[in-house]
Amino acid sequence: MSSNCEFPAQIHSYRPICRSGTGAFGAVWLVKDAVGKRYALKVVYKLSLGSDWKREFHGLEHYQNQVTAHPNLIRIFHIEDAPDFFFYTMECADNLCAEFDTELYQPATLANRLRREPPLSATEVREMFDQLLDGLEHLHEAGLVHRDVKPDNIVFVNGVPKLGDIGLVSTTSQTLSLAGTRDFIPPEYLTGQKKLPNQEIDIYALGKTLFCAFSGQEPDRYPLLPRSILKEPGKKQLNDLAKRACAVEPLMRLKTIREFRLFLHGRAGWGYEFIRLFRGLYLLLRFPVVLVCLAIRFLISRKWILILLGLLILGWLGMVLKALVRLEKVYHPYEYGIHADTLKLAFSTWHLPFSGHDLYDFYKKDDFSLKHYGERRLVTREEYLRAKNFGIPSQSLDMGLEIEIGDPEEAGGKVVSRKIVYPTPDVTQDTPLDGEYLHELCFRGVRSPEWSVPSGTEWQGGVMTLPAVRRGVLKFQEELPLRSEIRLSFDPSDFCGTLEFYLTAAEYVPVAGRPVPETQIRRQLRFRMRSTGGLLVFEPALYREQDRTEDELAEIGDPKTGAVEREERFCELRILFADHCRRVYLNGTLVWATFPAFFGGFFEMRYRSEAGSLRINDFAVYDTGIVQPGEKRESRLSLPARRELRGSGGREEE
């Protein structure tokens, strides 16, 4: 095998004049044929290229077969394959040295010109690149990519710039190993993000070549420029073009020869900026996807995060499993295995122990079969209330509570305490109800297993007589409907003492894992009155918050009237849920109107007798609710007729 220094002896048809260039894979010689015509002859040694020599050879084939002659593409005259090497002859470049026929031959490439002379003027650059763009466009139209555009490969033949060294020419469908010169290859190809060569590679390289041409700088200096260059006429525009052709973000680069030419001649108008704007928008839209990919990459690259995530997922699955076991026990106590419905529910309710809500087993209370055998669900209190009271405004579900911050001025500008204020609703006898209310009887009777009565209670003729002891509790065992009305008819004529009516919240459902306090103190609403023979005197209503003690009772509403003189033997007490508040009427006279509204709960009456006994002749519980569209119920709630009071302690008149 011949070395790069020697002209291969196997080539007989050409006589070498001098070597004009040497590369890693071969050498370029200035030769002349038998009639003295000069050519550039490139010898490529197969051994030095390994199997890649075929790639270069195929590149030549493509070039010869697919590309027709063009004044700005180097012409190839002859290709020959030998056992150790192949060679081809092409047009030879002009000589930059004055004496052509001597050893002092320096091919007129752009790189050599830039080494010898100062940078080209803007006009020269424009003229030269205009022609090069023609050549490159012709190549691209043939479906080929040059892949090695750089100042060394731009040769001047008779003063005409041509794209030379077509050794790396390939089709756009070929996936090839990285080739070309490092500084002229787009970064995404260097990092391996892109493999398939396309015409954008050539445009990028042409941009870098342009940078070298107008600035005289080495390509690795890009984009740094001496200030003097930018001050030269027309160079600012060329600098702008180079930056656009070699932008960091591939999407923002010039994409076609046409775009390059428009900028070269300064003819790119707002249309191109519009396209760039769209490309920018696309980049922005792509950003979240990129962000997700980066996040995934970040997670994968750090083992401790993966371990942490794994532990979290395991913990979550544990919670789901715990909820599942509990739900299986509730819904399918006599069946083994996992049911789809409980599994689904477990996934959605696993977090409930953390949610800060109370848990309720919810069922439709007005349906006996459903209550005992039907669907039961685990819900939060809010969900429970919403399910039972469709259409209730959310503030009502908050029980009408308002949180006030202590006066900052009093505490030197600092918030000192939080006080919960229960506003007294401005409800009078004349206040109409907001909607129409249902009035369905749920329970009636004074002698029933639902009643828990003190020992010694007697019944006679449908009248319950409570024992004349000092204290006693009369409790209705059933939970009240969510929105209810209680009617109690009692005879206080012989009774002298205190009567207290309690509304207590429903029991908690025990939650697995949550400690149940020994004494579970629930919310409670109390109305208290004092009976002195014929006169009933009312005291402010009291409210106890959840988990508060007896000492933390809050007064939440003075009675609307001071005292009522008994008109008949039996008095009728009505505790009504209406307008998101509790109203209490005695013989049709509004006595209390209080927030909180207090949904559901249990009713009990406590009494403390000083003398005489109390008699009860009627007790009824009604379910009240807002009339839904299309719903028909016969009974409606009627408000007590308006009564005028003659004064505190006076008799009432119709």
């Binding site: 190993s177 990285l178 490092r182 970064p187 260097l190 990092t191 890009y222 984009p223 740094l224 420029l225 001496p226 200030r227 930018l230 001050k231 600012k236 600098n239 702008d240 180079a242 930056k243 070699c246 932008a247 960091v248």
Partner: protein
């Protein structure tokens, strides 16, 4: 810049990537020459040292795995250079009169040489950081920084030359400096 970190460069070298080799060579050749000079090698020997060190990496490239916990890459490279320099010196002993035994030469490396090595390494890091910067910044930002900070042109003039607002020049400066700091920090964290 083909490889954003030296870690990725080393792994690419391990894969036999041609561009990575080229970059590896360009990056570390000056350091090898510097160390060769400190070890009192002549010009020919220094060139040979470069070849030997590169060959050494080439032979071990496929099995070479950089493990940060075992030390910094720069120390590893220094060790390889010294070993190869010793080989050269031993070879020289066979043919010519030696100025000293390899161990003596290694023991006699002045402290300034170590400082020079560290300085050169720092320069390498900065150059690499700037190369990395080219991938992260827009060309206009870099040009603006270069003209304003390196070439010390007034902000107004820079703005006029690059057709940007004068305010943007200051923003570009702050952005580039922040990025540069971050890249250097990243490179330092790699402890290569």
């Amino acid at each position: 810049m083909a490889f954003t970190t030296r870690g990725s460069l080393l792994s690419a070298v391990g894969r036999g990537d041609e561009v990575a080799w080229d970059e590896f060579y360009r990056m570390y050749k000056p350091l090898i020459l510097l160390r060769g000079g400190d070890l009192r090698l002549n010009q020919t020997e220094k060139e040979e040292l470069v070849q030997l060190v590169m060959l050494s990496f080439f032979h071990t490239a496929k099995t070479f795995r950089y493990d940060r916990s075992r030390g910094r890459f720069r120390d590893y490279l220094k060790r390889v250079i010294q070993n190869k320099a010793c080989d050269l010196m031993r070879k020289r002993q066979d043919n010519t009169v030696s100025v000293g035994l390899p161990d003596e030469v290694l023991g006699g490396i002045p402290a300034e040489a170590e400082d020079r090595w560290e300085d050169e390494w720092r320069k390498l890091v900065l150059n690499q950081a700037f190369e990395e910067l080219k991938l992260r910044c827009s060309p206009t930002t870099l040009q603006s920084y270069d003209l304003f900070v390196r070439q010390q042109l007034p902000a107004k003039e820079v703005a006029k030359l690059l057709s940007i607002r004068p305010n943007a020049v200051y923003q570009h400066k702050a952005r580039v400096e922040e990025m540069l700091r971050q890249i250097v920090r990243e490179l330092d964290e790699q402890q290569l």
